[in-house]
Symmetry: C2
Subunit: 506 residues, 2 copies
C-alpha cells in the first residue's frame, strides 16, 4: 500500500490518509480481507503522529470500509460502491482522482527553479547561467528580418510544414557547414527545436531498453537528464585538461558495448576545456574501431576567443561515425529554440520520423526568421560582436579571480565558451558557498549538478557572458571574500572536531 | 547473422554482403570458428543470385577473414585488426559505420510522404489533409501582431524562457477557458508545441513499460503513433454514431486497468461524429468509477457549423479526471506549432519537467505572436470567418455527395470539424479507389490509416476545408465516377471468379 502525503496541503493529514486508503480499496489495490499496517507501524512509515493514523482509521471504520479485530489487526471489510448499504451518505459522491499513484515517476525540478528564483532578485549578480547577453541582441535587425520573411512567405509559414525542417534554412545550413569542411547532402540535416530536442531524438532512435551509453563527467545537465534517467545504463568517463580521458574511454569500449559516446569536445560545458587535434583523431579512431557512434555537441564552437581553433569531429570523420548537434541558442537566440543535427541519411530519416511523432515540426516562423537574419550576414556580424564582448568579460573574470580568490583555489583559462570552472580550497562545498554567496548578492552554479557519476562537491561554474565586466569583477570580489570566510570557518570547525575527538578519547 | 541489402544503392550487392559480414566479424557478432550460411542458403535468404554470394565469399576469403572447407562449410577464420598479417593492404582502412544494426527500430514514413507527393501535383484537387485554408490566413493582421510584440518585448522573447510557457499567453488561455466553463489556475496549464507534443508528453508521464491504454477506433493517426507503437499495449474501442461506444468501454474497464482513455468527443477525427451530453456525463462517470484518466482531444471545438454545442469533458469534470489537449493548429496556424494542455497541477508539473527534458520550452516568438494576435480579438474574428467559409464547403461537399456518389455509398453529416467520413459500396477498397482517383486528379485519405486495431478497408475521409466549394464539387464528381466504375469492375471480377470457381469444381 503506497500513501503519499502532501505536508504543505491545507487538507489535514488524517483526511489524506483516509481518502488514499479509500482509493486503494475502490481501485481494488486493497481487497476485502487484506490486512492494513498497524497503527504504530503506519505512523512510523509515514512519519506522522499516531493520533493521525488513529483518526484516519476511525473514519474508514465508520464508513464500514475497514474493521479492527482485537489481537489480530485491521482489515479491509468492504469495497465502496453505490449498492453498499454500510456506507454513510457522503460516500455516494466519488472522490476526486488521485494522480500520484498513476504517474510513471515523479521528478522534482528543484535545482533550476530554486536558482532561477535567487537570480531574479534585483540586487543579485548572476554568474549561474550559460546564456547570451540579452543587451547585445540585435533587436532592430531581427525584427526587420521577421517582417520581411512574413511579407514574402507568410502564407507558407503559417501552414503545416515538413518534419525535416524549413527547406531554405536547411540549404543554408548545408552551405555553412561546407565552409567548415563538412560536406553534407540536404537529407543529412534535420532541424530541431534546439540541442535538447536533438539529444532526446537521438536517444529515441539509438538507445533501446537495456542499452548503455558513455557520457563525460562532468557534462551538460540536460544531457544527463536525457541519457541518465531512472532506468538508464551509462558509464561516466572523466574530463581532463585535454577533454574526455581517452585511455579510460578505450578501457570502457574494450569491455562494454555502448550505443553512443556523448561529448562536448570544443569549449566543454562546464569545464571550458578543448580537445586538441590528435585527441580528436584518436577519439574517432576509437569510435570506428569499436563501432560506437559519437554524439558531438558543438554548440560553443563559434564562441572562440584565443588559441588554435580545431576542426569539429564531424569534419574529421571519414567513416560516418559522428552525429553532430548544433544550435543557434549560444551564438544567437535561445528563446527561439532552433537547432540542427547532421548525421548520415539513414539516421536523419529515423530522427525525422521520431520528430514527427514528437511534435510534427519546428515552428516555421522561427526557422524562417533565423534563415532571413542569417543569410544577409547579420548573424555573422552578431557573432563577431558578441565574441568581442564575451572575450572582454572572460578577461575581467580571470583577472578578478587572480585578485580576489584565495591561493588554494584553482581554475582554468578557457579559450572559448561561456564559463570558468573553479576548484574550491580543500574541504569547502560549493553548495555551502552558494548559500552564503546568495546572501551577498552573487549566484553561480555549484559543480555537483554537472555530474552523472559521483559528484564533486568542491567545483563551481562561473559564467561570464551575462554580467558586465564591472559587475563580474564585483561578483568575483564578493565571492572571493565568501570563500575566504568559509576557509577560515572550515579550519575552525576542523580544529574543534579534532579537540572534541581528543575529549572523547579521554 | 543479419544482413540488410539496399537494392536501390549504387553499391553492388556482393560488396554490401561482404562489407556487412566483415562488420559482423569486426564487432564480434561473428566469432572465429563460426559457420557461415551455405552459398545456396544465403542466396535464398537474401533473395539474390548465387553468383552474388559466391563473389562476396571470395572477397572475404581473399581478405583472410573466412575459409571454406570442402564438405564442411564456410567458417570465420580471423578477426580484422591491424596486427593481422593475413590481410590485404586495403583492409588497413576501417570500413564506414553501418547504422542499420544500431538503430532501435527502423520505421517507414510511406503514407504521409507518398500522399503528399500526389497532392502537390498542380492539377490535383486534394481532399486528403485536415488543414486550414491558407487563403484565409489574416496575413496582414498577423504580421502586424508579430511586429508589435517584437517591438514591445523583443529582448525577453529572444532570451531563454520557462518550460511552462510564455506567461501572458498562459494567462490569456486561463481567461479564455474560464469563458467556456473551465476554471483553472495558471499552474494547471502547460503550453506545448501543439497537440502532437501534448500527447507525447502525456505518454511519457503516464504510460510506463507494460502499461495499457484505451484508444478510439478509428482515430487521429498521430495518436496511434504515440500510443500504439511497437511495444505498446492498447485496446481499441469502436466509435459509433454517438462517439466512443461506452458499453464496450465499460466492458474493457471492468476487465483491465488501462492508464488512460484517449478520445476526441467533439467533431471526431476522422468520423466527424460528436458525443452528446448524456454520453459525455456517462464517460466521465465511467472514468471516475474505474479511476482511469481521460485524455480529451478538443482541437476541433471551435469549428462548429450547426446543431447543439456540448460542453467539453473538461468543463463537465468535477473529479479532476480529465486532461484536455488543445491547439491553435485547426482554428489558426499549424505552421506555428503551439498548443496547450489543461490538467490538475500535479500532472502539469510532471509534464513541464518532461517538456524541459524534451526541448526546454516552445518558441517564445511564436507564443507571443499568437498571444498578441488573440488578445486584440483578431483570433475570434478569424474563427468567425473560417467557420463561415468551412460551413459553405461542407454543404458543397454534402450536396455533391448526394448528386454524384452511388446509392450504396454512405456518409455522415458532421456538425463541425474538417471532414466527411464515407463508407464505400460493398467490396470496394479505399486504397484501390485512391490509385484511380489520383489518375483523375483527386486525392483523399483512405480510412485504413485511422485504425489502431483491425483496419476497415472500405472507408475514406474527405476533407472539405482546403478546396473551394466549386473544386470540392468537381472533386466529388470525379471521385463518384471512379467509385461507380470500380463497382462495375468489382461486379465483373466477382462474376468471373464465380465462373472460375465453377470451372475448378468441374
Amino acid at each position: 500500500m503506497m500513501l503519499q502525503l502532501d505536508r504543505e496541503s491545507r487538507i489535514p493529514l488524517y483526511v489524506q490518509i483516509a481518502s488514499q486508503v479509500r482509493e486503494h480499496i475502490a481501485t481494488g489495490r486493497l481487497k476485502i480481507g487484506d490486512r492494513l499496517p498497524a497503527n504504530r507501524e503506519l505512523s512510523r512509515l509515514l512519519d506522522v503522529n499516531r493520533t493521525t493514523v488513529t483518526t484516519a482509521y476511525s473514519d474508514l471504520e465508520a464508513d464500514g470500509l475497514i474493521r479492527s479485530e482485537v489481537g489480530r489487526g485491521t482489515f479491509v471489510a468492504a469495497a465502496p460502491s453505490r449498492g453498499n448499504a454500510g456506507f454513510r451518505k457522503e460516500m455516494a459522491a466519488p472522490s476526486p482522482l488521485l494522480w500520484n499513484g498513476l504517474l510513471v515517476s515523479t521528478q522534482r525540478d528543484v535545482w533550476l527553479g530554486g536558482l532561477l528564483h535567487a537570480t531574479q532578485r534585483k540586487d543579485t549578480i548572476s554568474l549561474a547561467h550559460g546564456l547570451p547577453q540579452a543587451e547585445l541582441f540585435p533587436l532592430e535587425d531581427f525584427r526587420k528580418s521577421v517582417d520581411r520573411v512574413l511579407r514574402r512567405a507568410g502564407r507558407e509559414l503559417l501552414q503545416l510544414g515538413t518534419s525535416s525542417g524549413y527547406a531554405p534554412l536547411q540549404e543554408y545550413l548545408v552551405s555553412q557547414m561546407a565552409l567548415s569542411g563538412i560536406s553534407l547532402n540536404h537529407d543529412e540535416v534535420l532541424i530541431t527545436n534546439g540541442c535538447q530536442q536533438s539529444l532526446d531524438l537521438i536517444r529515441r532512435i539509438l538507445v533501446g531498453p537495456g542499452d548503455e551509453i558513455v557520457i563525460e563527467d562532468p557534462t551538460y545537465p540536460g544531457a544527463i537528464s536525457v541519457f541518465c534517467g531512472s532506468n538508464a545504463k551509462y558509464t561516466s568517463v572523466p574530463v581532463g585538461p585535454n577533454g574526455m580521458d581517452l585511455d579510460i574511454l578505450e578501457d570502457v569500449l574494450s569491455q562494454r558495448r555502448p550505443k553512443l559516446i556523448y561529448t562536448v569536445p570544443t569549449y566543454h560545458n562546464p569545464t571550458g576545456v578543448t580537445m586538441d587535434l590528435s585527441a580528436r583523431r584518436r577519439l574517432i579512431e576509437l569510435a570506428i574501431k569499436y563501432r560506437v557512434p559519437i554524439i558531438e555537441d558543438d554548440i560553443y564552437r563559434e564562441l572562440h576567443y584565443e588559441g588554435a581553433s580545431f576542426p569539429s569531429l564531424k569534419a574529421l570523420d571519414n567513416y560516418g561515425v559522428v552525429i553532430s548537434v548544433n544550435s543557434f541558442s549560444k551564438i544567437g537566440f535561445p528563446g527561439l529554440r532552433v537547432g540542427w543535427v547532421s548525421a548520415p541519411a539513414v539516421v536523419i530519416e529515423q530522427m525525422k520520423i521520431a520528430k514527427q511523432n514528437c511534435d510534427l515540426h519546428a515552428s516555421l516562423l522561427t526557422q524562417a526568421a533565423i534563415f532571413e537574419f542569417s543569410r544577409h550576414g547579420l548573424l555573422a556580424k552578431h557573432i563577431k560582436r558578441v565574441k568581442k564582448a564575451y572575450a572582454l568579460r572572460r578577461d575581467s573574470m580571470l583577472s578578478a579571480l587572480e585578485n580576489y580568490f584565495p591561493n588554494e583555489a584553482r581554475w582554468n583559462r578557457p579559450q572559448g565558451g561561456m564559463a570558468v570552472w573553479v576548484r574550491l580550497p580543500e574541504g569547502l562545498r560549493a553548495s555551502d558557498v552558494l548559500v552564503h554567496a546568495i546572501e551577498r548578492g552573487v549566484a553561480f552554479s555549484p559543480g555537483e549538478h554537472f555530474y552523472s557519476g559521483q559528484p564533486q562537491q568542491n567545483m563551481l561554474r562561473l559564467c561570464f557572458t551575462i554580467a558586465s565586466p564591472e559587475m563580474i569583477e564585483e561578483a568575483v570580489k564578493r565571492l572571493g571574500s565568501v570563500i575566504k570566510e568559509r576557509v577560515v570557518s572550515h579550519r575552525k570547525r576542523r580544529t574543534v572536531r579534532k579537540a572534541e575527538g581528543v575529549r572523547a578519547l579521554v
